[in-house]
């Protein structure tokens, strides 16, 4: 830091938003870093070290950038309010390249080289699945923000948690009551022909059936497809709702061609905003979406009834009323997902405080304290809404938003109940040895 005369004044070095994230360099650097001197003097005030497994490069980079911003904002808020157990939080970012193989290496580096207290922040499912064994092996708590069902499936291990964002199974299931009651009873699904699409293919039909509606056709599109017109004749004429979850660069083409296929006389459209996350809803080619509905985890656009907590969260992260970066309106955020970073960090804070967490020797206590959590009230720490937490499957459950595209923005028209997304647990992590 420089003082007003431009000279270095290390006595004034403090944890700014930037240092909180850039902070810990290599281990050797820490020992000589002037900014850390005062913490090394007393173990009790040494920082809590969070290893942020971040998609800084690779196909997840657009998400990674916003996960980083949200994390920085949450850490600043936590530190400004006194940190965790009176200790400042320090985040160390390691880039996993959105690469499962590299992800496992990064988890290992956090555990052995940086000696972080936890690992946190992974989004892409295949990276979570690739990294989870390394976390289990190192016995380091691994808090992911992925929305995949892999954590709740109990197929990972006892050290993996997803307490800040609901899983896709719950999300899909909780859409069914609204679709059946408001959009239509005969649903045709169009999805990409790989794991992401299979979640929707598998979880939606039983959920709709329970609501007296049905999936009448499922159209799987090869992931490398970039033109879709030839698939549209497969859509049954009696279709009342097209449920679409296409992802990748050809999404805009998909929407445009669907519009050309139907013209003005189309069935209802229901999609997941994953298709257009970080993409301006007013982009050319998306006109056909006007009047259609989307799932959103947290609303991209500011809503008239936003809670003070939601407003404070948006301001802290730096997104404007349109969900884009403040001062950079073309940089559309990943609002539907990134709130999970904020909320996960507050869950970590709560669990560490409950456990009286002091350091890596207390990691098992942290696991058990996290498993003992049951609910998170809506508020500054959980601005997206209230949640329950199932410690047996390490997964939270919360409300979902259904938003309508109208007037060039996404307006929330329905909020689901937590109960809409609950399902029978598929296992119990707590029976596994620590």
């Amino acid at each position: 830091m420089t003082d007003k005369n431009g000279f270095f004044d290390l006595s004034k070095t403090s944890f700014t938003r930037r240092t909180a994230l850039k902070g810990l360099a290599a281990g050797a650097g820490l020992a000589v870093a002037p900014g850390f001197v005062r913490y090394s003097q007393a173990q009790s005030s040494a920082p809590i070290k969070i290893g942020f497994q971040s998609h800084r490069t690779g196909i997840g980079a657009a998400y990674g950038r916003w996960y980083e911003k949200t994390t920085a904002a949450a850490v600043k808020a936590i530190n400004d309010a006194g940190g965790i157990n009176g200790r400042p939080v320090e985040v160390i970012i390691e880039d996993d390249g959105t690469d499962p193989g590299r992800g496992a290496e990064v988890v290992g580096k956090f555990a052995t080289q940086h000696k972080t207290d936890i690992v946190y922040g992974t989004l892409f499912s295949h990276v979570v699945i690739g990294s989870a064994p390394a976390a289990g092996e190192a016995k380091i708590p691994y808090f992911v923000v992925s929305e995949g069902h892999h954590v709740a499936s109990t197929k990972l291990n006892r050290y993996v948690f997803q307490p800040g964002i609901t899983d896709v199974k719950s999300q899909i299931q909780s859409m069914a009551p609204w679709i059946a009651a408001n959009a239509g009873k005969k649903v045709t699904q169009i999805f990409p022909d790989f794991a992401f699409g299979y979640d929707h293919r598998d979880y939606l039909p039983p959920a709709l059936k329970a609501q007296g509606a049905e999936v009448i056709a499922q159209i799987a599109i090869p992931p490398t497809e970039s033109s879709f017109t030839k698939y549209f004749p497969q859509i049954p004429a009696e279709t009342e709702v097209i449920y679409h979850v296409m992802v990748g660069p050809a999404v805009l083409t998909f929407v445009k061609e669907l519009g050309e296929f139907y013209g003005s006389n189309r069935p209802q459209l229901f999609g997941f905003i994953d298709s257009l996350e970080a993409t301006d809803i007013n982009s050319p080619g998306l006109e056909f979406l006007d009047g259609s509905h989307f799932w959103e985890g947290s609303p991209r656009y500011a809503q008239p009834d936003d809670s003070p907590a939601q407003k404070a969260y948006r301001a802290a992260v730096g997104i404007d009323d349109n969900g884009a970066a403040v001062g950079d309106p073309k940089d559309v955020s990943t609002a539907a997902h990134m709130f999970g970073c904020w909320e996960t960090l507050y869950v970590v804070k709560k669990a560490m405080e409950d456990a009286g967490y002091k350091g890596p020797e207390d990691r098992t206590k942290l696991v058990e304290a996290t498993e003992a959590l049951t609910e998170f009230a809506e508020g500054p720490e959980h601005p997206q809404g209230p949640k329950t937490f199932n410690g047996k499957i390490h997964q939270c459950f919360g409300i979902q938003n259904i938003s309508k595209v109208e007037g060039g923005r996404l307006n929330v028209v329905h909020k689901t109940k937590i109960e809409d997304g609950l399902y029978e647990p598929e296992g119990d992590y707590t029976t596994q040895a620590l």
């Binding site: 950038r65 390249g97 992931p223 257009l276 982009s283």
Partner: protein, 486 residues
């Protein structure tokens, strides 16, 4: 960053330590004034909706038309026009040692930052300086301003000092110590290693990993310069010097042997180049093929060939063998097609020149294409990661410093996002790709005139090469519009 298309920087010039990077800043700012784009999936999605087919057809036609027009022009008229220049100031080499020493100090600080600074590749200045400032910004600056690297490289100054300490005198003028048959092969192999590290290695952006790689490369090159002589190793072994010197021949500024700067038309110095040996031909083709492969390797087409789902890209660690194969394959294909074009051209024209002589001369026409690919391919990286570099350089060791007042600057990724940006970026990229190939045709025309005195024969000899250039134009544009992972 690497995979650097998505994502691939800049800084402020405050202390002399940072002089090494000042030129990167100039490059970035020059580009800021022109265009934007950040190639994650949704931005390529905007490009997919553009009428790109017309551009591809138009580009191919423009390159073909330039061949036809040139075939009708008297070559000597063109040659006379092209060789015009405007003399500017003259200056000696006196400051070269100190500039290189400053650059070396900057490099050493960056290496230290790589080892001790932030682990985040977008906060640590080393990956941003190497992959964005150096490999993108400085390459483009060489294409514009000439051979800056002969002054800026971090070896010359230390080598001068070491030579004096060891009493080896001015080795720049010593007799060659590398066997002549080695040609550019050491540089070829080292460039291949560099390209492999950039494009295939699982984590070239990891600050510590890169610090070790770059630091070791500096050390080994320095030892090689002490053993083989600075002049010999930098001209035949140190791949950056070789590459920079080649692309600098396209620049609009040249410095002659008397030290006078001249303003000239782009490519003038290429026209007067002497034929490259086989190793030099291979080197130049490898530089183009590696950038081309960087683009190709992310396309749905390439990934589809190996059954890889681009929407669930398995990451670089899963792509090592496929990537290594592709990097070699791309070079072999380009070299084979280039060789065939030269062979057919010479057969058609029936000239008396040896094939190696013709190929060694005509390969220089690749330089503007390589520069155009470099620009088009890495532009988005330069625009976005350039901002990260500006911020990172203010706080190289993540200690909360703000050396240049840029540490907390907001990173505006929006400069490269959205339909409007995609449109402007695409136009700029397409324009540069097409212009690069038209320059290549122009240069090939000049070289053909040197090889074949009869205009008809000269034109005939270029025909196959022109077909290759049209094809490469189409390929280059296709790389920018086809769906890609990430």
């Amino acid at each position: 960053m690497s995979g650097r298309t998505e994502g691939g920087a800049v800084e402020r010039y405050r202390s002399s330590v940072e002089a090494f990077h000042f030129l990167g800043l100039v490059a970035l700012l020059a580009c800021f004034s022109s265009t934007p784009a950040f190639a994650h999936a949704s931005d390529r999605g905007h490009v997919l909706l553009l009428p790109t087919g017309y551009y591809v057809a138009g580009g191919a036609l423009a390159v073909a038309a330039s061949f036809l027009v040139l075939a009708l022009l008297p070559p000597d008229a063109l040659d006379r026009f092209w060789r015009r220049h405007l003399p500017l100031v003259a200056f000696g080499d006196g400051a070269r040692t100190i500039v290189s020493l400053i650059s070396f100090a900057g490099f050493a600080i960056l290496i230290a930052a790589g080892l001790l600074g932030s682990r985040d590749p977008l906060s640590n200045p080393l990956p941003l300086a190497i992959w964005t400032l150096l490999w993108v910004g400085l390459v483009l600056l060489h294409g514009l301003l000439g051979d800056l690297w002969s002054w800026l490289n971090p070896w010359y100054g230390p080598w001068r000092i070491a030579s004096r300490v060891f009493g080896r005198g001015d080795g720049e003028r010593q007799d060659p110590r590398l066997p002549q048959w080695l040609g550019y092969w050491p540089a070829f192999l080292l460039f291949f290693a560099f390209a492999w590290f950039e494009l295939i290695d699982p984590a070239p952006d990891d600050p510590a990993r890169l610090a070790w790689a770059a630091g070791l490369y500096w050390l080994l090159s320095f030892i090689a310069m002490l053993v083989f002589g600075y002049r010999d190793w930098s001209r035949h072994g140190e791949f950056l010097t070789v590459f920079f010197a080649m692309v600098a021949r396209f620049a609009v500024v040249e410095r002659n042997e008397e030290g006078r700067l001249n303003l000239c038309l782009p490519g003038t110095k290429l026209l007067s180049a002497t034929p490259l040996p086989l190793s030099g031909i291979a080197f130049l083709l490898l530089t183009l093929s590696s950038v081309s492969f960087d683009g190709l390797s992310k396309t749905f087409f390439w990934l589809g060939l190996f059954g890889i789902n681009p929407l669930e890209f398995p990451g670089r660690t899963a792509m090592i063998s496929i990537g290594s194969f592709g990097l070699v394959l791309m070079f072999v294909l380009l070299a084979a097609v280039f060789a065939l074009a030269v062979i057919f051209g010479q057969r058609l024209a029936g000239g008396k020149h040896s094939l190696s002589n013709a190929a060694g001369l005509l390969v220089w026409s690749i330089v503007p294409i390589a520069l155009a690919y470099h620009f088009a391919h890495y532009l988005t990286a330069l625009l976005v990661d350039g901002q990260y570099a500006l911020a990172a350089l203010s706080d190289p060791f993540a200690l909360g410093w703000n050396l240049f007042g840029t540490a907390d600057m907001p990173i505006e990724a929006g400069v490269a996002a959205g339909a409007g940006s995609a449109w402007r970026l695409w136009n700029l990229q397409a324009g540069i790709i097409i212009a690069g190939h038209m320059f290549a045709v122009l240069l090939a025309h000049g070289f053909a005139w040197r090889l074949h005195q009869l205009p008809a024969r000269a034109a005939l000899s270029q025909f196959p090469l022109t077909v290759l250039m049209i094809a490469y134009t189409v390929f280059g544009l296709w790389l920018l519009v086809t769906p890609t992972a990430g």
